[in-house]
Amino acid sequence: MRISKHITVVASLAIMVSGVIVGGFNTVSGASATKTISVMYWTNFDNPGTNAIPKLINAAAAQLAKQYPGAKVVLDPITTSSESTYYAKIDLAQRSAATAPDVVMEDSFLIGSDASAGFIQAIPKIKSWSGWQHFPAAMQNVVTYNGKVYGVVNSTDVQLAYYNAKLFREAGIAVPWQPHSFADIVTASKALAKHDKGIVPAWLYTGTPLGEASSFRGFEVFLDGTNDRLYNSATKKWEISGPGFTATWNFLAAMRPYTEPESDWSNPNGSSTVNLNLMPANQVGIVFDGSWVSTAYVKAGPKPDPSFFTNFKEARFPTNGTGGYTNQSGGFAWSLSSRAGNSKLGLAMIEDMSSAGNIATFDAADGNIPPRTDATTQQQWAAINKVDPVLTFATNQLAVTNYRPNLPQYPQISTEIATLTGDISAGSMTAAQAETAFAAKVTQIVGASHVVRMTK
């Protein structure tokens, strides 16, 4: 058996070496195909705009081919019903040249994190592109990390409190309804619960299965209605506790008896449950969700239903008892992968996808708010606004909106928030325990010198 031992060693080396050689070939072939670029994006069978992204890419690809003869664009969709799976998949893919796309659709809140990981590259040249000036400062800041631009936003949204006017009237709540404090929301939910035990009085995103939405729509947008913030960009400190935090955690605990059952929020596809099942069936009183929800129900949408627009009305997010309004916006952006085979072509593709016409067409089909000011004057956008009254209402909220901190620590902190909202909903934590745990977790993640406790 001595011989076979030698063979083993030699053969293992051979495998390793051949692996490296084959790997080398992979890289070479990737780099030589400079005229072809790939665009990676998220597709979801539930999304009314399932085809909106491929249409956008194809339209832009046709324009790209005119500018750069021979340029080809390959679609690289990632199909999954869960957002967090998409985030993990694109990050895994961008670790290797063999799987990295040239252009990738990034959720704007991950830009800072993915930039610091080295997955996406800064695109300083974008500032000299004629379209860039049409993006308002807020939309430019969303894709800026450490002073450098890492992408171009293709869509944004605001959050709305959709309420079912039919159920509200039946429950004896005056419509139109506009809460001015957390207490107003609790009161309405309580009345709805009393009126009909069979419905979900209020849908609130909560828990880790619903991922980022639980943190963003289920906590942060409410926190923004107080005087506390998750991150203070002036002092560069994370706020971990304070009266606003206490009010928000208490609000979530107070809502617990009236929100959806665990079977709904523990399902990663919960947003489909509420948007496509509960809402059209008038089984839910209030839904705190993105402004794109209504687009599914317009005449040309995937689930045309005129009664949706008569039953559901929209309210704004209140500042807690100070008479104002607040909001939170997210959205996706196109970024250039650090491992792009042809950065020049990739950048040109991003510019083409972000033209006023392409953005207007895409956002009209997908129910988003265009991030580009001159896109809102395009006729595609005007047309969808006529059939979907929610969009105008939503666009007006941009005046009071906020954005998530574009920092590498944010995704981890956000995960902690989602976990804690779930602990409150499951009844395994009180508001006070959640507040303590939150402060401890954030301190652990960013370090004690980067946090601050607010006193008023």
């Binding site: 053969a11 495998i15 993990a88 994190s113 080295g118 990663p268 981890q412």
Partner: protein, 285 residues
Amino acid sequence: MVAPLIVFILAFIGWPIIWTMILSFTNMTITGPTATHFQFIGFANYRQLFSSGSGLVQSIFLSLYYLVASAYIGQALFGFALAYLMLSCSMRVRKTVGSIIIICWLVPEIIAAWMWFAMLSDGGTLQQGLHAVGLPYQTWLISHPMISVSLANSWRGVAFSFLLFSAALSDVPAELLDAAKVDGAHTWRRLRSIILPLLATTILIDFVLITLGTLNDFTLIFAMTGGGPGTASNVLSVFMYQQAFSTFQLAYGTAIAVVLLVIGAIFSVIYIRTLRRRGALNFVR
């Protein structure tokens, strides 16, 4: 001639195991600065994992629950019962039912997960069936997730134990089986004192294989419940996946992987020692 085997195992299993151990001492994440520039952080992942409230204890418990319920009871015990009952069964039924059970085993795991998911869902066939006869149904996937996934795994996996036991029982001298049958009152005693001892090696090997297969299982649970509701079916493999990919902490996920490896190794060592004592590893009987 053994060389290719050794090469494959060293290159594709040996090295990843070592790398698992190494990564579990780092702070590697999916995204953020430590995604590519990670550092060694000593035992921090393990301290976090073994601190209270990490969910580790619950996951170990759920993995053991799944092992006992779906493998030992649902596959080994049930598989033996099937094989034994089939001895005294009409040939046609025996062949038909045997084929059905084997087909369940041949169906890809993800399809099995989908079928069971559809059957147990809210509005699924089970609910309709029970309603039709006037019985209430609470969605099992939500109210009893561990029972749901254990049932599905038993359904899918029982064929393996069944085949092993059928083959072993066919080697048992017919007189012994006949005697056991005729003497109805003493069936249980005969089973215990004559048949089970003859099958001891088979039983042991069956236990080895299904234990390891079940601890390794991920797809069925991941697809049916995703570890939920909440963390109610978060067995170790799903727990690992979630920490690594959903909360972006890759290295923390590998620390859970190491725990999984250690548990697998403990079972393996126990079984190897037992098999060796029985001489069962010398194969030729």
